[in-house]
């Protein structure tokens, strides 16, 4: 099942993660944490939209649930933070099963909007419930104490290794029976169903996995920021980021989001360093994604690899 090169990649990932924890300075660690966690979230959205064909505008719900799950459980129980980070995705994954049973009645655009509205319902509920901190949010205080130490020193290697493991895991998954079924459904839903694929069950598995994965990334992210507000955690910016990264890089490819993410973070850091405002950054991002979609609708990576292949074809002929 798992190939040698993939095991090598995993081992390399672990070594790099260990080195990064020991030698990278604190400011860069924060940035890298964000990069790898965004990568995980984007890849989750990609799995749902690009492979399962379910475009959702409501993934920020899982970010919010992960963040709030982390804070509530860590603050009110004696479970150590790192234990909580493992438990929260499981809970969010379980929660997403009944949600999936409801929203799977909706198709295409309805699904996207239905998810967005569901996220908005949860957001409004958190804002109007004082026990959840209301609109002010809550501070992460594990067991009632202030967080000790430097969480980013642990989050960075974990998220780095998880990103690597995610790529390997997705490659293995796409070769498995379930993965092949996913690709078949994406390419032709009716034919796949006729061939015996249980589409509903397949979508449910992917929906639950992406929900849990997004929540895991969110829980890790909010461990480094130490506090959470509903406007931030349930903000549409999350899903916008995931969408832009995936779509610019290449929807439904594993490499695409890497390209998209590198571009987005690179441009952001360059523009911030050059003194441009956040608003100007978003204008550039919007123009970039609109332009890519208009001229290379499959995204940058597929266009690039097609181009390379056509060059090779010319060279060999």
């Amino acid at each position: 099942m798992i190939r040698t090169i993939e095991i090598v990649a995993l081992v390399l990932g672990a070594i790099i993660a260990w080195l990064a924890a020991a030698y990278v300075d604190s400011g860069l660690q924060f940035l890298l944490c964000e990069v790898f966690l965004l990568f995980i979230m984007a890849q989750m959205w990609n799995l749902l939209a690009g492979y399962a064909g379910q475009v959702s505008f409501g993934q920020q719900m899982f970010v919010g649930l992960g963040a709030y799950g982390l804070c509530l459980m860590a603050n009110n129980t004696g479970i150590p933070v790192w234990g909580v980070i493992v438990i929260v995705p499981v809970i969010v994954g379980l929660l997403s099963i009944p949600l999936g049973m409801v929203v799977f009645h909706l198709k295409h655009a309805y699904f996207a909007i239905g998810m967005w509205v569901a996220a908005e319902v949860v957001f409004q509920f958190v804002v109007k419930t004082p026990a959840l901190g209301g609109s002010g949010g809550i501070v992460l205080r594990p067991g009632g104490e202030m967080m000790q130490g430097f969480p980013e020193q642990t989050v960075l290697p974990v998220s780095l290794f998880l990103s690597m493991a995610l790529i390997v895991g997705l490659r293995v998954f796409l070769r498995s029976k379930l993965g092949l079924a996913t690709l078949a459904v994406r390419d032709n839903e009716a034919a796949a169903e006729a061939a015996g694929v249980n589409i509903w069950r397949l979508h449910m598995i992917l929906f639950t996995l992406t929900g849990a994965g997004t929540a895991l990334a969110a829980a890790l992210y909010y461990t480094t920021t130490l506090f959470v507000t509903p406007l931030d955690a349930f903000g549409a910016k999350w899903v916008v980021l995931m969408m832009f990264i995936v779509v610019v890089g290449g929807l439904g490819t594993l490499t695409g989001p890497v390209v998209g993410l590198a571009l987005f973070i690179g441009i952001r850091e360059l523009m911030t360093a050059a003194g441009y405002s956040g608003g100007q950054y978003w204008i550039v991002m919007g123009l970039l994604s609109t332009g890519v979609l208009l001229f290379l609708p499959q995204g940058l990576w597929p266009a690039f690899s097609n181009y390379v292949q056509s060059l090779r074809g010319k060279a060999s002929s």
């Binding site: 909007i113 509205v117 319902v121 804002v127 109007k128 969408m243 609109t290």
Partner: protein, 268 residues
């Protein structure tokens, strides 16, 4: 009212126009800007100016960008393109006018009211309702009684056949996009008269517009009017019962109705 333009756009172009919320905001800001520049301008002219400005914006966007995106088989492409446009529009507005809240001052009109048979009615809400009903009426007349309306309906039903019999499909698309953006602008002006608007209100308005359109049935303009009333009433009643309700119950009602309709298979 917020939903009418979107219903038109989705019903006919079959593209989910995610920049619609931004058109609403731009309409409001166009009116604010017009009043700042010419304080003595009569209200109907301001409304007309906002309508025309947004209609132009919508037409240009459709002509240059969306039309091209629509030619790809995947409808997701067009949807995401309009989203990119929405982000560009919003942040350009923030860069130009700043992130402050703006309101349209309507002078004494805001407090004016009169009493009919024991009921006190404000002039402003009535005026809004009047403008909304008038726009719906005009829109219905345009789609069902004119040559242009016949062409629009033909493009909506069978675009290929419509093109075969000589309907200029692209021009119709641009006209529809302009009308829909113009309607959004009117909605924006009415919103700005009742409460203040911020450059960031686009997404919230877009969501409400979606809800109204989906509840009303896609492309059905009369349904949109009823759905708007239902959601508006939910908002009023829930605020009355629970003072910090926000939009919680509105979204919840929409979600329940949507899923219920999907479950019973009455979703086109």
């Amino acid at each position: 009212m917020i939903g009418a333009g979107l219903a038109l756009n989705y019903g006919i172009l079959k593209v989910l126009q995610l920049a619609h919320g931004e058109y609403i905001t731009y309409g409001a800001f166009a009116a604010v800007g017009a009043i700042v520049l010419f304080p003595d301008l009569p209200f109907p002219i301001v409304l007309l100016a906002a309508f025309l400005a947004c209609a132009l914006l919508g037409a240009v966007a459709q002509w240059l960008i969306v039309e091209r995106a629509m030619s790809y088989r995947d409808e997701v492409v067009a949807m995401l393109v309009t989203f990119g446009m929405a982000v560009v529009l919003r942040d350009s507005l923030v860069e130009v006018v700043g992130a402050d809240l703006r309101g349209l001052s309507v002078g004494r009109l805001g407090q004016a009211n009169f009493t009919v048979g024991g009921l006190t009615l404000g002039v402003l809400p009535l005026l809004s309702l009047g403008i909304a009903v008038a726009s719906f009426g005009l829109l219905a007349f345009l789609t069902f009684k004119t040559h242009l309306g016949r062409q629009i309906r033909a493009v909506s039903d069978l675009p290929d056949i419509a093109a075969l019999v000589g309907v200029p499909v692209k021009r119709i698309h641009v006209i529809v996009a302009a009308l829909s953006a113009g309607l959004a602008a009117i909605a924006g002006v009415l919103l700005a008269m009742r409460a203040s608007v911020s450059p960031f209100s686009g997404l919230d308005n877009l969501l409400i517009a979606f809800e109204v359109v989906v509840l009303g049935g896609l492309g059905s303009i009369r349904g949109v009017l009823w759905a708007g009333l239902l959601l508006g009433m939910t908002q009023v009643v829930s605020t009355w019962l629970d003072s910090n309700a926000g939009l919680f119950y509105v979204h919840l009602v929409f979600f329940i109705v949507l899923v219920f309709r999907a479950k019973t298979g009455r979703l086109s």
